[in-house]
């Protein structure tokens, strides 16, 4: 199973999602990173 490449920049992710017509998942967390 491949590792998820989490992004931090929401606006960059939304822009890429729009360009590629893919959905965006945002994980709001308080877990240690």
């Amino acid at each position: 199973m491949s590792e998820i490449r989490w992004l931090k920049d929401v606006d960059a992710a939304l822009k890429e999602a729009n360009a590629t017509q893919k959905p965006t998942l945002i994980d709001f967390t308080a877990a240690p990173m």
Binding site: P23, L25, F28
Partner: protein, 131 residues
């Protein structure tokens, strides 16, 4: 696109999306519109079912009813023991109806829900479809 926002590092992002609790998961469509929200921890199967439910809702809300029905039915079958299953069965029936304009899909869905999930609110919501 997977994005992770930590409460200590990205508080403005929490406020922007009105995330009041952790964990909160949002599913946005490609236009950035929120289509599904999961608040609080869930065991793996429940979590996966909720993610699938979000993707199915995106298909439904974009008018891709055949794809939405397929996704909803997968949840209804594969994740039958999860809290998402009755909701998915309900929307599978609605998707089938939307795609065909054939109301028998609604009646069949109501019967299925009554049999498989007698205590669910989705069964009560569908009760109006049984004549």
């Amino acid at each position: 696109m997977p994005v992770r926002a930590h409460i200590k590092e990205q508080k403005p992002t929490f406020e922007r999306f009105n995330a009041q609790w952790t964990p909160t998961i949002l599913l946005l469509d490609s236009a950035g519109a929120e289509k599904h929200r999961i608040e609080g921890f869930l065991p793996v199967d429940d979590f996966l079912a909720q993610l699938e439910l979000g993707l199915a809702k995106i298909s439904f809300q974009h008018g891709s009813y055949a794809e939405a029905e397929k996704r909803f039915r997968t949840i209804c079958g594969t994740y039958r023991g999860t809290g998402a299953a009755p909701e998915a069965c309900y929307w599978a029936g609605v998707s089938a109806y939307k795609a065909s304009n054939d109301a028998t899909h609604l009646g069949a869905t109501a019967s299925q829900l009554k049999e498989q999930f007698p205590e669910s609110e989705w069964t009560r919501k569908s009760s109006v479809w049984i004549h």
